[in-house]
């Protein structure tokens, strides 16, 4: 008897068998061939041969391996690779032989195979038993090992000779390995108690179920991630049956949220194309966040993202056919790839080319401002003047509430309102099923910046500055204010919804939008935790926008001398960089000016009653001089350069003659005078004029006199009296 024959005989006795096919060369035979081997079939390696897992190599020598699985293991075989070992003699490298694990092995657990699987006595238990008399595929020589992965890993075996084994419930399914005696194990796949429906299988495989999509009937929806139409159809049916639901619970895990009675069920619209939030629910969520104004704009990307973090997808563990089973809770943010909501727009920007205005008695005068860009992922909220130009990110639309704003080549010239830049969807501006990429509160200084402390009564302002209508005008560039009557206090209105959006705590804005644009100056110190106003008014001596630290220090109070000019600036502090939105110019003047005439700042004829009193000296020839006072009852004056002011007035005069102390020049007069003073410090301090007056009561009075005097009002100002 040959040695090989002896070996095979010994193997058979030991439970291993000679294969049904002739052994190929290098595996115990002499001819190059290919042969299937069942587990436990013997092979005999040849020291003149090389072996590999691929017919193209790499090749290596191998000894002391006597089953096909053993050889495969030695060659580095892994599950998923073809279970074939190749061999070739070194002296005939083109003649390649191979052995492979018989394909019947892979299906021994299938129905009708060598093992039968049936339900166990307990829920989701399984019994695996050998089919009586089955010997095909070498099953009588193999033992099965079952491993339950996951929490509480367990193992069960069906040894050679044993008839059956009962496997308890294993949620993840049993991984099955087969092995003949003494050889490495060979994977047979997975065995689960009871089959799964398409959705249950999909959930076990993990990954995302849905992803955001903006192409829904109304806009945002969550569509199935892949073409597993059966799983999707099942999910839709499960929603209808109440076996699937979306709940909202902040700060809870999906597992706990799905079991809590107090979790709110989120109403959904489930269509063939995807799942969408119910629009009424979205509107309600917006009202919860922003109050009544919440329904004027769409939810922001970040709000949707945060909302998704509070949502949980709850799926029943069973539809009733598999006994009591724990349901599945999935964090909606993960299950629906909610992160994609923001990643798609991670690099998109919202840009505004600003415009600033001079508010003048003749209307608004615009100046082009800086370009400002912010990333939309930050939940951009900007403020801008009407007339600024907004550049829309690609694929977005601009809306004012539910009304679309027309864009030209992606640009929108802004009008007053709250402009909501939204993801362009089929629902357009009329739906909540979209996302706001950014908002721009557009104010109109002629409408919204209100000089509330000024008395009205002047002429009606042009249509573009209605908030300034009736404010007295000093010259075409300046409004007038009277120190004792007027106060440079300003109010600010803003478009509906803007304050709600700006002041929302989630934004964490450094400033707040209210009804005031308070005058602020160089105050230093701590003023508590209330946020400063986003809109402020700064008063300065010149027209330069006061947004630097030095500008703030030079800001002046409203109390200025007559004829003094105060520049008021509407400054917006949006937490990034303060910016001037508008500027207006005021000139202080006497209280009882009734009219101004003239088209220029310099040649401005002012007409008024009860002007400034003056003390001074009257003199004329041949009469002696007199000391006295005059009070213009009616006057008109014309501003000239270098502090000169020409005046024609009708004053009441009264004087005492220098020589005899008798009254002189008492009564009305007509005076033509030139005033001079240092502008901004003591304007019109000195007066020199000539007048015609009643020659009464001094006998020597004539009808005319010269007058030189000091303006009492300016003198008191100069001395700090007012």
């Amino acid at each position: 008897m040959k040695l090989s024959t002896c070996l095979f005989a010994l193997c058979a006795l030991a439970g291993l068998a000679a294969p049904a096919f002739a052994q190929p060369r290098c595996f115990g035979g002499s001819e190059p061939a290919a042969a299937p081997l069942t587990l436990g079939d013997r092979v005999r390696l040849d020291s003149n041969c090389q072996y590999a897992l691929d017919a193209n190599g790499p090749w290596r020598s191998l000894t002391n391996r006597d089953t096909v699985v053993d050889v495969l293991a030695a060659l580095g075989w892994r599950d998923g690779m073809q279970a074939t070992a190749y061999g070739r003699r070194t002296d005939a490298p083109t003649e390649v032989s191979s052995v492979f694990v018989d394909h019947c092995t892979d299906y021994v657990l299938q129905a009708g195979g060598a093992f039968r699987v049936r339900p166990g006595a307990r829920t989701d238990a399984l019994v695996v038993e050998r089919t009586s008399g089955a010997t095909s595929c070498g099953v009588d020589r193999i033992a099965l090992t079952f491993d339950c992965q996951g929490s509480g890993a367990r193992r069960a075996t069906l040894p050679i000779g044993a008839q059956s084994v009962e496997l308890p419930e294993c949620g993840a399914g049993w991984e099955v390995q087969a092995a003949a005696q003494g050889e490495p194990s060979y994977p047979l796949g997975r065995l689960a108690a009871g089959g799964e429906t398409p959705l249950q299988r999909r959930l076990r495989d993990g990954g995302t179920l849905l992803r955001p999509d903006w192409e829904g009937e109304r806009g945002l929806r969550f569509v199935p991630t892949e073409t597993d139409a059966d799983a999707w159809a099942e999910l839709r049916t499960a929603f209808a049956a109440g076996h699937a639901r979306l709940v909202r619970k902040r700060g809870a895990t999906a597992a706990t949220a799905c079991h809590e009675e107090s979790a709110d069920v989120v109403p959904l619209v489930v269509t063939g194309g995807g799942v969408a939030f119910d629009e009424g629910w979205l509107a309600s969520a917006m009202r919860d966040l922003y109050g009544a104004d919440g329904v004027r704009f769409a939810p922001s990307l970040s709000m949707l993202r945060e909302l998704a973090d509070e949502l949980h997808l709850c799926l029943a563990g069973t539809y009733g056919a598999r006994g009591a089973r724990e349901g599945t809770g999935l964090a909606f943010a993960q299950a629906a790839s909610a992160q994609e909501l923001v990643t798609r727009y991670a690099t998109a920007e919202l840009c505004v080319t600003h415009v600033a205005y001079d508010v003048t008695p003749n209307g608004l005068v615009s100046h082009e401002g800086a370009r400002q860009c912010v990333a939309v992922s930050d939940g951009a909220l900007l403020a801008a003047n009407a007339g600024a130009v907004l550049e829309l990110p690609e694929g977005s639309v601009a809306c004012n509430g539910n009304t679309p704003i027309e864009a030209s080549e992606g640009r929108v010239t802004l009008s007053r309102g709250l402009v909501d830049v939204r993801v362009g969807t089929r629902g357009g501006c009329a739906t909540f099923e979209t996302a706001s990429l950014g908002r721009v509160g557009v104010v109109d200084p002629g409408h919204d910046w209100i000089p509330a402390g000024l008395e009205r009564g002047g002429r009606e302002a042009p249509a573009d500055v209605p908030a300034w209508s009736g404010v007295f005008v000093d010259d075409p560039q300046s409004f007038a204010f009277v120190r004792r009557r007027d106060d440079l206090r300003f109010r600010m209105t803003s478009p509906e919804g803007f304050a709600s959006a700006w002041n929302h705590p989630a934004r964490g804005a450094a400033t707040a939008v209210g009804q005031h644009a308070p005058v602020v100056g160089d105050e230093s110190g701590r003023f508590g935790h209330a946020r400063p106003s986003a809109f402020v008014t700064r008063l300065t001596k010149d027209a330069t926008c006061p947004v630097g630290a030095d500008d703030v220090r030079t800001a002046v109070p409203a109390e200025t001398v007559v004829d003094g000019v105060v520049h008021a600036h509407l400054v917006l502090d949006d937490g990034r960089a303060p910016r001037c939105l508008a500027h207006a110019r005021f000139r202080a003047r006497e209280p009882r000016v009734v009219s101004t005439l003239g088209r220029s700042e310099r040649r401005q004829l002012r007409i008024g009653f009860l002007g400034d009193a003056r003390l001074g000296v009257f003199f004329s020839e041949p009469q002696p001089a007199a000391i006295g006072a005059l009070l213009p009852i009616f006057y008109t004056d014309l501003h000239l350069k270098a502090g000169f002011l020409f005046e024609v007035s009708v004053p009441l005069t009264a004087a005492i003659a220098w020589e005899d102390g008798r009254a002189s020049r008492v009564g009305p007069a007509l005076m033509v005078a030139m005033n001079w003073g240092y502008p901004e410090i003591a304007p019109r301090l000195f007066t020199f004029g000539v007048m015609v007056h009643a020659p009464w009561p001094h006998p020597d009075d004539t009808v005319w006199s010269f007058f030189g005097g000091i303006n009492v009002t300016s003198l008191i100002d100069l001395l700090g009296g007012r």
Partner: protein
């Protein structure tokens, strides 16, 4: 004078307070109710019906047995592998140089005096043996579909007017009417003729008519698919590599020869030895068996249909036999005999050929 004084005193009293001006508003977004679609309960019913009509486990056992037998029979010259998990779809790839006469479509053993390379019980070539192996499956399946793809990259045809008139019969349409006298065209004809010869041999071995598609992939098909320049660049980068250098990135996927490749492939030299072969895609369509159980509920509500689907899926035998019939590659696709750079024919009665699916299942789809 008195009048003037009264007027003067009255002037400061003439002011009024600001009265707000109305401005444009931001209109509210109105909520438009949107109903859900009816749930797809009918689809759930269909799934349940499919679940109850499963492929018998014995079909898989038989398919596995046939597969092993075929591999034992032709495994020396052909690689035989499953496509996916089911044993009902096979991918067979046979090197042409060993099986065909050089530059011809005749199989070794076809002509008198030549020795067959592969023999089996009732077969004198690898494709006939493949057919013989499949014959055991005929009682278990409703139909057998076969796609045969001949590859003859840069193979010189034996004659410039190479034609195979005897193989052009039996197809829905003949691939060409007159053989043009150019080397390129002859190469393409050779590719198709080899595919046709292989499919005829397979049908003979099977002893039954099957739906067959024959596709010829000549040199031009590979030219369009193979990024030879990318392969050259990669090869040069490897040559310039010095010890300690960072190895170059992997070559682009299109710089590789079509799967399965071989050690003798040199795409950088324009050589894909492995692209001289015949691929066979075999699809077995098993007959589902009718279930003998019905759902224990009668209703048609969403709750009911889900219960019934789960009840069926939860049967242990169902969980183990979830393997399904592979996707068909006849029925939708092209009915032309020329698709891109290749001849595509189908046997009479076969539906349109889904060439893309065949390519995908054989691993021939162009890399992305």
């Amino acid at each position: 004078m008195r009048l003037l004084l009264m007027i003067a005193l009255a002037v400061p009293c003439g002011g009024t307070a600001y009265e707000g001006a109305t401005g444009p508003t931001t209109p509210e977004i109105a909520v438009v109710p949107a109903p859900s679609d009816p749930p797809p309960t009918e689809r759930m019913r269909t799934l349940e019906r499919q679940c109850r009509e499963t492929i018998p486990g014995t079909t898989f056992q038989e398919a596995a047995r046939a597969l092993s037998q075929v591999r034992a029979s032709i495994g020396r010259y052909c690689s035989v592998a499953l496509v996916g998990e089911t044993p009902l779809e096979w991918r067979v790839s046979c090197g042409a140089d060993a099986l065909f006469e050089s530059g011809r479509y005749a199989l070794s053993g076809d002509t008198e005096g030549s020795t067959p390379v592969v023999t089996c019980d009732g077969g004198r070539n690898a494709f006939a043996c493949l057919g013989r192996g499949l014959r055991s499956m005929l009682p278990h399946v409703a139909r057998v579909d076969v796609a045969v793809v001949g590859h003859v990259d840069q193979q010189l045809p034996a004659q410039a007017r190479l034609d195979c008139p005897e193989l052009k019969e039996g197809w829905e349409a003949v691939p060409w009417s007159r053989a043009t006298n150019t080397r390129e065209a002859a190469n393409e004809r050779l590719a198709w003729c080899r595919a046709a010869r292989a499919s005829r041999a397979l049908a003979e071995g099977l002893g039954s008519s099957v739906h067959t598609a024959a596709i010829g992939n000549g040199s031009r098909w590979l030219d369009a698919r193979l990024d030879r320049q990318g392969a050259v660049d990669h090869a040069r980068a490897l040559e310039r590599l010095r010890p300690g250098d960072e190895p170059p990135a992997d070559p682009p996927a299109a710089a590789n020869c079509p799967n399965p490749g071989s050690a003798s492939d040199e795409p950088a030299a324009g050589k894909c030895q492995s692209a001289r072969r015949v691929d066979v895609l075999v699809r077995l369509e098993a007959r589902p068996s009718r279930a003998d159980t019905e759902c224990s509920r009668d209703g048609a509500t969403p709750e009911d249909v889900l219960f019934c689907l789960e009840e069926c899926a939860a049967r242990p035998e169902q969980s183990q036999s979830a393997l399904a019939n592979p996707h068909a590659f006849f029925g939708s696709g092209s009915t032309e005999t020329r698709v891109g750079e290749r001849f595509v024919t189908r046997t009479s009665g076969a539906g349109a050929v889904d060439v893309a699916r065949i390519d995908e299942r054989l691993g021939l789809a162009a890399p992305r």
